[in-house]
Amino acid sequence: MDLKVMWATMKKEFQIRLRAYPIDFMVGCILTSFYTTLGAYLMYHYFFRQNLASDFADLTGTSDYMSYAIVGSLLYLFVVRTCLNVSRRLITELREGTLESLMLAPFKRTSYFVGNMLLQTVMTFLETAIATVIGLFFGLRIHDFCLWKFVIATILSLYGFFGLSLILGCVMIYARDTYISQNTLFAAIFLVCGITFPKEYLPYSLQFLGNIIPVTDGLTLMRAAILGGMPSDRFCIIALRFFVLGSVYVISGLPLMKRLEIIALEKMEG
């Protein structure tokens, strides 16, 4: 990994963000998280008057539905933002007309993407912090915070999301479309990854789909770190599984992206 390229990418990206794009995009993402939380709040407190299904606590290890759903919506915000940024990066360069000059420069792709990812992580932490404060008003409570679990969950989630972003980026470059591919993926993640309800309620085929998207396990780990209810050995097993899954995405994503770069350059004019 070339740190110089990584820093340069971060600096460049930050300046683009500051100068070219208004903040309303960020507001939009916080609002999405807000509406998800509000929907869960209305369902839990008003529609069902806090009557949960009998198997909810067994499946999730917690009986606090609001915290469960809010942690889900916060992580969903994180996924959406990182995927949007990292996977759209090359196609945005193509649209902005800077892809050609970028490709002329001798840079390491890994550093470039990691730089993008890191900058986005820092930016998203700010948004997530705002969304968390909103979540506190709606009943987000930290039950059993465990620092080492939280650190592992955060690092592994970033790793998994990075892998997912690379694969999504490949699809985008190949199909030359961002609108359909990104929104379909986000809608699917919202359904199968257990954002507001435990994925065990889904039919088996959808559960399987959830298991191979590197968001589900990250969410399970994050909830275990914040809400508790999971023994440490089980946590480690899921962490290991998540790491392997994330690695599959990263290891297949980076070379694939390199292949698709060539196609992107070939098709650039038409």
Binding site: Y46, N51, L52, F56, I180, N183, F190, F197, Y201
Partner: protein, 269 residues
């Protein structure tokens, strides 16, 4: 009148040619609402459905309850999407040509809304009807009520589309309409959670969405066997909304016309 209808049909045909040449459009029109509907349906499984705050909703008819919500929403949502696409016509300059022609402005807007309301929601509609037919034993419908209520809501969705299209004629920067019309409409008009159980402030917000009344009446006649007497207030409000939307559209068209004459340019201002 004959001329008016001709313009409506021509515009809807144009929109059809414009947007339905690519099959990918069905992903956004059908797959997304379907995924969103499934997510809502499964999120209900986390709750004890027999303990809901509304007497006529139970584990048997929750699927139909949500389906009606998502079907009706797909009608109202498709017009927002069509309006967004209509704004690109303004930027690419075709709107200027339409304004140069003697075509009635209202007819153009109506043609646009007509094509999007019917074409965009048809897949979701067919899917919904099949699912409801499959779960027909959970229905408790009042047929007379349904026959009266259906056309009112189709007209309402249509005029809602015409009105939003007219708003897009006035201003170039209408992205904010998406922010306030997409997700808030899903939450506040009661697609997922019935409006009846909302706290006061949320009820107040739900009043501004025509979809709220459409859903309330549709669910009452299909799930609670309500006759027209029970839902007459909702129906009267809906008819009032139709009149207000039509008037607001005509006023907006007039203002736009004046604005355009003043600036002399649709593409830039």
């Amino acid at each position: 009148m004959k001329y008016f209808i001709k313009v409506v049909l021509a515009e809807s045909y144009k929109q059809h040619r414009n947007y339905f040449n690519n099959k990918m459009i069905y992903v956004s029109l059908f797959l997304w609402p379907l995924l969103s509907f499934l997510a809502s349906y499964y999120s209900y499984k986390a709750f004890d459905l027999e303990e809901s705050a509304i007497s006529y909703i139970n584990s048997g008819n929750i699927l139909v309850f949500l389906l009606i919500g998502y079907m009706a929403m797909s009608f109202f949502r498709s017009v927002v999407q069509s309006a967004w696409r209509f704004s690109s016509e303004r930027q690419s300059g075709t709107l200027e040509y339409i304004y140069l022609s003697p075509a009635s402005r209202l007819a153009v807007l109506m043609g646009n809304a007509l094509s999007s309301v019917f074409e965009s929601s048809v897949v979701m509609l067919v899917f919904g009807i099949l699912m409801i037919f499959y779960n027909r034993e959970s229905l408790h419908a009042n047929v007379v009520g349904l026959v009266v209520v259906m056309p009112i809501y189709v007209i309402m969705a249509l005029l809602w589309g015409v009105f939003i299209n007219a708003c897009f004629l006035y201003s170039r920067d209408t992205d904010f309409l998406f922010t306030i019309l997409e997700e808030p409409m899903e939450i506040f008009s009661g697609v997922k959670v019935p409006v009846m159980i909302f706290p006061g402030w949320a009820k107040l917000l739900s009043c501004i969405f025509p979809l709220t009344y459409a859903l309330e009446a549709l669910r009452q006649v299909t799930l609670n066997n309500s006759d027209l007497g029970t839902i007459k207030i909702t129906v009267l409000i809906s008819i009032l909304i139709i009149v207000v939307l039509l008037a607001a559209t005509l006023i907006t068209i007039h203002i736009v016309e004046k604005h355009v004459r003043k600036t002399g340019n649709i593409i830039l201002f």
